[in-house]
């Protein structure tokens, strides 16, 4: 019986049982046939035949044992032997298990992140036919390139309809809400507006109640119904079926909960967990008629049998017509010829993915390399151990163990090692993955990824385990099993030399891999360093941001008075250097575009932000010309005093003096004039990487916004003081959010920080592993050649010659590894180039830095064994044998 069918027998004992049974039955029936022919009745014949056959059960068991036992026993023996061998060299084994565990764990962690974010298909109907609309635009900021207006959604629905079912899901955002049982206490939950047909098209079923339907999405403002996600229902509503029919308040509007979605569906955007779905019709009423209010992701499911290209062409035509009708020739805000693309959304559309795909894949490549280094290390270890066991192997071969049998033994030993390491790896990735997800999460953008250890992760880890076992186990196994009986006696230098060659190539590989990681990690870390050193145009340190809201609708005069009062109170708090108010904080990720006409009639695109007096002082933005805002500026509405930034002046005034000039704009159909009273320095907003943009600042006239307070005081104390102060200014004022300006800036660099920190860690790990490998090989070489070194020294060899003899070939291996690693690093760097900021992938520094660190580590690892070689005492070395 072949090895394979034995294996099948172990896995499927039932089948073996059936076969044995069939064979026995055939015998008994054949015998009964014969007895029947001799004149017995069928029943008697069968009974006699059965008696003659003997005890069927016992016989079957015996045969079963014959077929299964030897193999199982040999595996069990090898397993025990393997465990014993590992225990014998506990220190070395621990090192091997830990380095392998770290490497496999890192791979598992990378896999579960990538799987959750990129690979896994959505748990919806026909995920393969899902697409989302994406605009091919010059806009660098991905956030806006996939968002559309409600009129466009309707237009697409009408014009692409039979070929594709069109639906929409808004960008999820955190909104204030009051839950049924919360006694009016507010909390934040992630809500999403969807079109009425979204769940039908996705095929998402309710756990209880019903999902939103097309009839929930007809009249603006009239459908106060909500569906909650299963996870939210369990986490926050105690999985209570009675929540159906109760009311939940979102942004001060009540909604009746009509259903709970099926478990596992948490929205179509991996990375974000939606809590509540509301109908589109409940979004801001104005938005439903505004063709330039882009807040929806438009999705579609291709009709069965439709090709993506065909529908894409139809959608493109519809989109172009829409653009023509709505924009071109009206106010010229958008250039004609925007291209539309339908992209497959089988695994959802995710902004988190857009942002982290490349970094995650880069990390995956890095951890893959770490795994290879760890494998070569363990292979080296097993080789060294294998050399020590040559005699044992040869002995076993001479008493008749087949080569396959010896191979099995060594491979099983490797498997024991991997199994232990894999257990460690799973434990590691279980803690590391949530930690990394937390690193990616900010207050404003909570990242949620389903990274439980499921069969996919387990499958991947077992695959990696098998792969590593074979990788590090096969060479030592083949070498060990090649031991012929003859080698018991003749264990000469030949075997050693061959082994040393393998070990040296492994060293070269390790050096190459770790240099590759070092190369890329150095680029990423330097890039992050550059990013944190960018001059933002303002100083985020010591600025606390407090977002406030008013419940009541205020008259303009009342609102302006409240702004003044608010700022006065904030400034009078102890130890406050200065305080100001703006529509939102810089780097919050919000933006507001404004079209203005320049004095010569040309149109200018600019970002706009409402700010109070002292804003520029608080943010430490330099005033280059003219003045800051004053308290009275908010009273003047036409012309309105405005301040522009340096970029605005450079882009639109080409260096002419801007102060004193007039701009005009239309708002709500009426023309307004702006009067430029000051010019301030440019600032970054939203991204450290991008260019600075033209900005227009207008006086703020509403207290709802973000307060900036610059103070030396600890933010916690400051927030407490503000919290006490607010009701005294006005009872309807309340604090909605608190953060630091530094964290807002830091959040935009999350991805870069993650990459820098993790790649740095893995580079260090790889370097240590490579150093251990180098040290091991050299030490072994010195120990093995102690006698030879002794003779050389006795004959008067210089220390240099001894070092050359011992380390020469290893040094050559290091050099070969270095060259290969450098080439690999340069190749690898091309894939991360897009992630780098102001760093040249190919430059003297980017080559010298990793090479230098590697040389230092290599020197340290070489030092001890080489010193031992030089200090060999000839007399003792010769006496030794």
């Amino acid at each position: 019986m072949s090895r394979w069918s034995r294996f099948v027998n172990v896995l499927r004992p039932g089948r073996l049982q059936d076969e044995l049974d069939d064979e026995q039955r055939f015998h008994i029936e054949a015998r009964a046939d014969e007895l029947e022919a001799e004149g017995l009745s069928r029943a008697d014949a069968l009974a006699r035949a059965s008696r003659q056959f003997g005890n069927r059960l016992i016989l079957r068991e015996t045969s079963r044992d014959v077929k299964l036992l030897p193999w199982l026993e040999s595996i069990w023996r090898d397993l025990r032997l393997g465990a014993r061998m590992l225990r014998k060299d506990a220190g070395v084994s621990a090192a091997a298990v830990i380095s392998l565990g770290l490497a496999i764990g890192a791979c598992a962690a990378a896999f579960s992140l990538i799987d959750a974010l990129i690979l896994r298909e959505l748990p919806v109907r026909y995920p393969g036919r899902l697409v989302y609309l994406s605009r091919a635009s010059n806009n660098q900021d991905l956030r806006f390139s996939a968002l559309y207006s409600y009129p466009l959604l309707n237009w697409m629905r009408q014009h692409v309809s039979p070929h594709m079912e069109v639906f929409s899901m808004s960008h999820q955002s955190l909104r204030q809400a009051i839950l049924p049982d919360a006694d009016g206490v507010e909390e934040k939950l992630l809500s999403q507006f969807v079109s009425g047909n979204a769940f039908n098209v996705l095929g998402v079923m309710p756990t209880i109640g019903r999902m939103l339907q097309p009839s929930d999405d007809v009249t603006p403002g009239a459908h106060q119904v909500a569906v909650v996600s299963h996870a939210f229902w369990v986490r926050r509503l105690g999985a209570d079926p009675d929540v159906l029919g109760t009311w939940i308040q979102v942004e001060q509007r009540p909604y009746q909960i009509v259903g709970v979605a099926e478990p596992g569906f948490s929205g179509a955007q991996p990375g974000v967990l939606t809590d509540v779905w509301l109908p589109n019709m409940m979004f801001n009423r104005e938005s439903l008629g505004a063709p330039n209010w882009n807040w929806l992701q438009v999705w579609g499911r291709l009709a069965s049998g439709e090709a993506l290209q065909t529908v894409q062409a139809i959608a493109q035509t519809a989109f172009a017509n829409f653009e023509d009708d709505e924009f071109i020739g009206k106010d010229g805000t958008r250039a004609a010829g925007s291209r539309l693309e339908l992209r497959s959304a089988a695994s959802g559309y995710s902004q988190v993915r857009q942002e982290f795909q490349r970094p995650l894949l880069t990390l995956a490549a890095i951890v893959g390399l770490v795994l290879l280094i760890a494998c070569s290390n363990v292979a080296n270890l097993l080789l060294a151990r294998g050399a020590a066991r040559m005699r044992e192997m040869a002995l076993r071969a001479s008493i008749g163990a087949g080569r396959g049998r010896l191979l099995q033994q060594v491979l099983i030993e490797s498997a024991v090692l991997t199994l232990t390491a894999t257990a460690l790896a799973l434990a590691l990735s279980r803690t590391a993955v949530p930690f990394i997800v937390r690193l990616l999460t900010t207050n404003e953008n909570p990242v949620y990824l389903d990274t439980r250890i499921d069969w996919r992760v387990l499958g991947f880890v077992s695959l990696v385990g098998c792969f590593t076992t074979v990788l590090f186990g096969i060479v030592p196994a083949l070498r060990a099993s090649a031991a012929g009986p003859g080698e018991v006696v003749a264990l000469g230098d030949r075997g050693h030399t061959a082994k040393a060659g393998v070990a040296r190539s492994l060293v070269a590989a390790q050096i190459a891999f770790s240099l590759m990681i070092l190369f890329v990690a150095a680029l990423l870390m330097r890039s992050f360093d550059r990013l944190t050193a960018v001059n933002l145009g303002f100083s985020p340190d010591q600025v606390t941001l407090l977002t406030v809201e008013t419940r009541d609708r205020l008259e303009p005069e009342q609102a302006r008075a409240m702004v003044r009062q608010l700022l006065d109170r904030m400034e009078s708090l102890p130890a406050v250097e200065s305080a100001s108010l703006s529509g939102w904080a810089l780097f919050r990720g919000y933006s507001n575009g404004n079209n203005v006409a320049l004095p010569d009639g040309r149109r200018a695109q600019t970002f706009r932000l409402d700010v109070s007096p002292q804003f520029f002082r608080t943010m430490r933005i330099a005033v280059l010309d003219g003045r800051e805002f004053e308290a009275t500026d908010s009273n003047a509405t036409n012309p309105m005093p405005v301040i522009v930034n340096d970029m605005f002046v450079r882009t639109y005034f080409h260096g002419d003096r801007a102060v004193g000039q007039r701009l005009t704009t239309t708002r709500g159909g009426r023309a307004f004039a702006y009067h430029i009273v000051g010019v301030v320095a440019g600032t970054h907003d939203g991204s450290v990487r991008g260019e600075m943009n033209p900005f227009l600042f207008t006086p703020i006239s509403d207290p709802a916004g973000t307060i900036q307070i610059r103070s030396q005081v600890d933010p916690k104390t400051l927030v407490d003081r503000v919290r006490q102060e607010l009701p005294r200014i006005h009872p309807s004022l309340r604090l909605v959010d608190v953060t630091l300006q530094t964290s807002l800036v830091g959040n935009t660099l999350l991805r870069e920080r993650l990459l820098a920190v993790l790649s740095g860690f893995f580079a260090a790990l790889g370097l240590v592993l490579a150093a251990v490998g180098l040290y091991g090989v050299l030490s072994y070489a010195v120990v093995r050649r102690t006698r030879e070194i002794g003779i050389r020294l006795a004959l008067g060899a210089q220390a240099g010659a001894v070092v050359r003899a011992v380390a020469g070939r290893v040094a050559l291996a290091v050099m070969v590894g270095g060259v290969l690693g450098l080439a690999g690093g340069l190749y690898f760097a091309r894939f991360v180039e897009a992630l780098l900021f102001e760093i040249q992938a190919v430059s003297l520094l980017s080559i010298a830095l990793p090479l230098f660190s590697l040389l230092i580590v290599a020197a340290v690892a070489t030092w001890a064994p080489v010193r031992r070689a030089i200090r060999v005492d000839p007399a003792e070395a010769l006496r030794n044998d």
Binding site: F26, F53, R56, S63, K67
Partner: protein, 109 residues
Amino acid sequence: MARSDALQGSLPMLILKILARRGAMHGYAITTQIETFSSEVLRVEEGSLYPALHRLEESRLVKARWVVTTKNRRARVYEITAAGRRHLEAEEKRWRKVTLAVGQLLQRI
């Protein structure tokens, strides 16, 4: 039962010999063949043939496959392998040597 035990020990060799002579056959046919030579070997239980067959199969001295008989039953057919033939030859040689030696020994006493 001493005689029976000794013969029982020679069962594997007997099976190999039969298969070498008559080609592929199923367990029951082997049983009837053995019966024509000796009623002693399988006196205890006919079924004890099968563990012996399986042991031979495990040592790759015979190989087996499933066939459908004329009566439309599934039968497992055994066939001697090249290794089986070599083994049989060696065993026969050894057996003849031993019997010869024992015979000579008995004559001298």
